[in-house]
Symmetry: C2
Subunit: 397 residues, 2 copies
């Protein structure tokens, strides 16, 4: 069952603080703590340039369990060499000491400007209060502290039952630009009290990432800091999960991650609309994914959507350069259910006008049938607007 | 010798007219005519969605000689099916009749909105006057008539000597958006009076395209209508070209096409700067090309350049997701000769400030050394600005 009001999970505490990393005195340092050792899994950016916190966390998650995550915004701690790695390790060390846990049980996440060194003293000075403030109701503050160019905090919540025991699942995420997760995603933390072992958790988690975070793009830019973590503390007290329990948990996880992924795409830097690109009838599953991704990343398609112009010629041109198997005269395109292209050419100006009307909404779905085979895929993206330029031309100033 | 003032070539006539295809009464239909049969070659878009004029011209150029080119702006005549192909054939037929040549000797080029049918009657009515107006001094009008979102006409001129005879080479081009030529390019016409055979012309032409038009990108969008044509009428009267003549012609052609390609990149829709991305030390030539292209097409890199911000972290992130062989700690980056990255990390804030100063100019060169091997490549692009959004959100309205 999907719920919206209760943002807590038994056994998890959270806290956020302003450490002075952002220019204003907004929240910028956050901590999530599990009172019990939590079965954990994570996926990380596939960018060959990986931030120090990614390198450290990737190593530490291998053991399959964690107690805490510490995250900072304002600084990505990427392209910072040995000094950056040392800053990440020191941050975890001091936090672990304050929490009274093994440093190997804490991971670090960072997001912000690439290339600048962490202002480590600010973080160090803030850590004691960060730990002191831990509370079961701290998650809304954490969601706020994770924001950079995000326009609102991103949370999603689910309650289910496993072996007759209720369990809870809370998801947090941040992300608005430099978004084209690939085998990984932007920062997202998923917390649950379900009792689950690593072997059961991993494939469910992996496949949920694949169908949610790995199906969004804002600007085709895969970040150096992408990270999704899940922690399960077992406090729900259920026994070994049976098939129906697993299905329930899987659905909950996919729902929560899907909602967070949609929030990220819709909150794409400067975006006014969420845009769903559906490709059907592709010759292979790779073709379906590539076609959807190329259309979703096309600046010309995205500016036309911002202009509320059903300029389907740009969709055809994007498909044509995508490299997928296609025949121009077999392509069909719908905009929010209005068929604008059949056999590769315009259906009618009347249908185009109807489509233009539909494009005034905050969500637009473009459906493409390549009529080459039986494969399909779906990517969620957003439009490209003046504000994307404003945000990114002025990002560091 | 490069010259700027004289835009004519012996034996070639040109004409442009306002046929009513553009909303204002600007020039929009143009004709280039060779008084003698001209040895000709062409390259065309690799987009799988090809405009009707591309399909027709691709077929007709196979014979290796042409007499005329007719070009319209306002309508791409792409995604227009059989009707579009028929419109292209009819246009050529009527023009050929007016010119008194074989329809097989005329090719057609179009640029503008994809998906709309050509207003064929407007073209038909304009053709007699278009032919009547042919003149040796008509090329400036043709360059204007080719413009769509271009901010200025694009012409380049060269005079050389072959076997003691002077020859002339005139290049015309259009293009500002939907620009990432690949194995072909936007509309460009090259006219020369050199006496050359097809077998000699083709490899010189092909390699000049590869190093000029195929090395620019505005927005990563390969058009459905890309076309470069060269016509050589032989009027210069030189005998068979020797090695030194060929070198001279090759240099002239590469100069002219290089200048036109630079003009297109610099005139990228909304651009304020031309940006040269140089990649050195790549492991393979494909890696060099891919790395330069991914950086050149990165919205985040391009918006940072618009903001005059030496935000090299975005260059690192783009390299990291490009898939090329790289080691983060070997990368070096210079902005207009100022080294901002060494060993994958910032050189100093002082150097960054110097780079920021350099970025105020109208041309910015970003040089990357991957230190993986001996291959290099170079792509010319532009920044991404508010005006790209304005132009493309409102394109059809």
């Amino acid at each position: 069952m999907k719920k919206d009001n209760n943002y807590s999970v038994p056994g998890f505490l959270a806290s956020a603080i302003s450490a002075g990393l952002k220019k204003s005195s907004e929240l910028d340092l956050s901590l999530i703590f599990s009172q019990k050792k939590a079965v954990s899994a994570g996926v990380f950016t596939t960018n060959r340039v990986k931030a120090a916190p990614v390198l450290l966390s990737q190593e530490r998650i291998k053991k399959g369990s964690l107690r805490a995550v510490i995250a900072n915004t304002g600084y990505a701690n990427a392209c910072t060499g040995i000094r950056g790695l040392n800053d990440a390790i020191q941050t975890a060390d001091i936090a672990a000491k304050e929490l009274g846990i093994d440093p190997e049980e804490i991971v670090v996440a960072s997001t912000g400007v690439i290339g600048a060194y962490l202002p480590f003293n600010l973080i160090k000075n803030a850590l004691p209060n960060l730990v002191k403030n831990l509370s079961p109701n701290g998650f809304k503050s954490v969601a706020k502290a994770l924001m950079t160019t995000d326009s609102s905090p991103k949370m999603s919540y689910f309650e289910g039952r496993a072996g007759g025991h209720p369990f809870h699942l809370l998801g947090l995420a941040k992300g608005a630009g430099m978004i084209m997760p690939n085998m990984a995603t932007m920062l997202s933390f998923l917390l649950t009290d379900i009792n689950i072992d690593s072997q059961t958790l991993w494939p469910i988690f992996r496949s949920a990432v694949e169908s949610t975070f790995n199906r969004i793009t804002v600007d085709g830019e895969t970040s150096t800091n992408d990270m999704v973590l899940i922690m399960a503390n077992g406090i729900a007290g259920n026994r070994r999960l049976d098939m129906s329990d697993i299905k329930d948990f899987e659905r909950g996880l996919t729902d929560v991650m899907g909602e967070l992924a949609y929030m990220i795409a819709k909150d794409g830097e400067g975006a006014t609309k969420a845009v769903i690109i559906e490709v059907n009838g592709a010759a292979t599953s790779d073709d379906a994914n590539t076609a959807a991704r190329v259309v979703a990343n096309s600046n010309l398609v995205k500016t036309a959507i911002f202009g509320q112009d059903p300029n389907w010629g740009r969709i055809m041109a994007a498909l044509g350069r995508s490299g997928v198997k296609m025949e121009e005269d077999k392509v069909q395109i719908w905009i929010d259910g209005i068929k604008v292209v059949d056999g590769g050419i315009m259906t009618s100006e009347k249908e185009e006008s109807k489509a233009a009307e539909k494009m005034k909404k905050e969500q637009v779905t473009i459906t493409i049938n390549l009529n080459q085979g039986r494969y399909k895929d779906r990517i969620i993206t957003c439009d490209l607007t003046y504000d994307y330029i404003r945000i990114n031309a002025d990002y560091r100033t």
